[in-house]
Amino acid sequence: MTEHLLEVDDLFVEFRTRDGVAAAINGVSYSLDAGQTLAVLGESGSGKSVTAQTIMGILDMPPGFITGGRILYKGKDLLKMPESERQKIRGAEISMIFQDSLSALNPVFTVGDQIAEMFQVHRGMSKKEGMARAVDLMEQVRIPAAKERVKDYPHQFSGGMRQRIMIAMAISLDPKVLIADEPTTALDVTVQAQIMELLQDLQRERNMGMILITHDLGVVAGVADKIAVMYAGRIVESADVLELYGKPRHPYTQGLLDSMPRVDSKGEELYAIKGLPPSLLRLPPGCNFNPRCPYKQDLCLQEVPQSVEVAPHHMSACHFWQEVARD
């Protein structure tokens, strides 16, 4: 087996709350290579952000507990590393951008201060050098008049510009892996496209591996190489983009794709997957998707489906993927 840049292997995370144990992640595995973009798709509560937080080591523990699995970065298990070693990886090797850039930037410091801080902390640069690099970076993320705006506070920027600043901070130390947790959700559609384009360009220039967490199928299509679809803390299907969009082999993925509005379906009622995602405190027995699944049979109530390779590099965790394929 070749070594991946980042590999999540059979990860289990649970939250021990007053109401019981919420099984947030139940055996998630995925891998990422340099220069590759992996999109992690899923509804709210499917565990996509928790996986990212676990990789970064910013999961709130307690109530979160990692109960199994490994996270390998360049072959080394992050979960077994001492905190001091992980500290060096965070930001410098694996970096992250957040959904809401207004709340993710410190309101009492100028954006220049905050970008420069990255260089001061990790590279031991002086404030002046850091500020010069901050202007550089702001130009790289295409902020107009970067020299003047470096002294502005976060609230003086528009949403799109703030997200660019967040990106500038995240890439400042040339990380090998960039995790983008719903980077465009808080933005309007035209700005979304610009930000995705920027992320893609930066990724290509720097040959970064990128994990793009989103619930927006439209965002994924143009950017990702691979897709992993998550449902109730499991990866139910994963494949290359074109393969997955063309030949979904899991009823959940199929439902997601069918529920996308299309130009040619104008006037028709939009398809929706029936029901709601299950509570993580009480997951249904057998296949977690069975209460909502049109292909449900008795087997689905009893046995958790294993992930099987239905085509090269295409995994599906459904007992009846062949029937899904026939439709």
Binding site: M96, N106, V108, M118, K151, Y153
Partner: protein, 322 residues
């Protein structure tokens, strides 16, 4: 859409912000708008507040009394007394009259500011540092650290400030050769050792609010250590309530010092403070009420101006009150 900056320049501050939000990706015109932080915003708000201006002027006068009392007493010495002038009423020679020992009450009132204001400032500084530190630790780390520190705070919180002060001060009585600074230090310690608890509670709750903010998580994700997160992200964003309470309690400490001195426990003669002067005046209240009135008036105004300042600062720092 027209140039937002042109319209913003004429509009009120609130509109400037709204416009920059919508004015998507347009670069600003240089010089059209200065960068604004929470603190500079608060300062802008303060400068227009009448309460702030009044209290600031009063506090400025009190500070002059503290640092350069001789400027306001025309070179008179508070320890030069003439017994034959004992308890003479206010006159053009002595505006506030003379006390029992024939000392000029005006001069002594001015000199008395020094000890009172110093106790107020140092007690506040001490409680802010100690209480703030404990509060940050408890709020930021949570868990068992929080439990231990919070229970400790509760224990100290249960002891009344004055009772504790009396206890501490009567256990360490001052002798004749303790100087002003030792006296002040002792009172500061007596007040501070019990006064830090309210600061801790306020700091703890405001740190808990900030601790889970996205920018703290983001800072951690980008590799900041706990120490750095606390210094750069948590403390600057949770300091505002502490500053407000500190300003208000400064007045409270001046009052507490006067109470202790009045009871004969706080500052001891020959140190002059408003509290000791009120203590001196107490037996003669019916014969020479002015001996009591002037120091008590100065004390009240000092306490009031710090409380007013605290109110003004709170209004400026809390956007919800605008």
């Amino acid at each position: 859409m027209s140039d937002p900056n042109a319209s913003a320049a004429a509009a009120a501050p609130e509109t400037v912000e709204a416009e920059t939000f919508q004015g998507a990706d347009l670069p600003p015109q240089p010089g059209s708008e200065k960068p604004r932080s929470l603190w500079s915003d608060a300062w802008r708000e303060l400068r227009t507040s009448k309460i702030f201006i009044i209290s600031a002027i009063l506090i400025f006068i009190f500070l002059i009394m503290t640092v350069f009392p001789q400027l306001l007493t025309f070179g008179k010495d508070p320890y030069t007394c003439d017994l034959k002038l004992s308890r003479m009423g206010p006159s053009s020679a002595a505006w506030f009259g003379y006390d029992n020992n024939g000392c000029d009450v005006y001069t002594r009132t001015i000199y008395g500011a020094k000890a009172s204001i110093m106790v107020g400032i140092f007690a506040t500084g001490f409680t802010m540092l100690l209480g703030g530190f404990v509060g940050v630790m408890a709020g930021f780390f949570g868990g068992w650290i929080d439990s231990i520190l919070s229970r400790l705070t509760d224990i100290f919180f249960g002891i009344p400030l004055l009772l504790g002060g009396i206890l501490v001060l009567s256990s360490f009585p001052s002798s004749e050769n303790t100087n002003l600074y030792q006296e002040v230090g002792k009172v500061v310690l007596a007040l501070g050792i019990l006064g830090w608890t309210s600061m801790t509670r306020i700091m703890r709750s405001s740190v808990i609010q900030v601790r889970n903010a996205d920018f703290v998580v983001a800072a951690r994700a980008l590799g900041a250590t706990s120490g750095r997160v606390i210094r750069k992200h948590v403390v600057p964003n949770s300091l505002a309530p502490l500053i407000v309470v500190a300003t208000i309690s400064l007045g409270g400490y001046i009052g507490a010092e006067a109470t202790l001195s009045f009871l004969g426990l706080g500052l001891q003669p020959p140190v002059i403070s408003w509290g000791t002067m009120i203590n001196d005046a107490q037996p003669y209240i019916r014969v020479a009420p002015f001996m009591l009135f002037f120091p008590a008036f100065f004390l009240s105004v000092a306490v009031l101006s710090f409380i007013m300042l605290g109110d003004a600062v709170r209004e400026a720092l809390d956007p919800k009150l605008r």
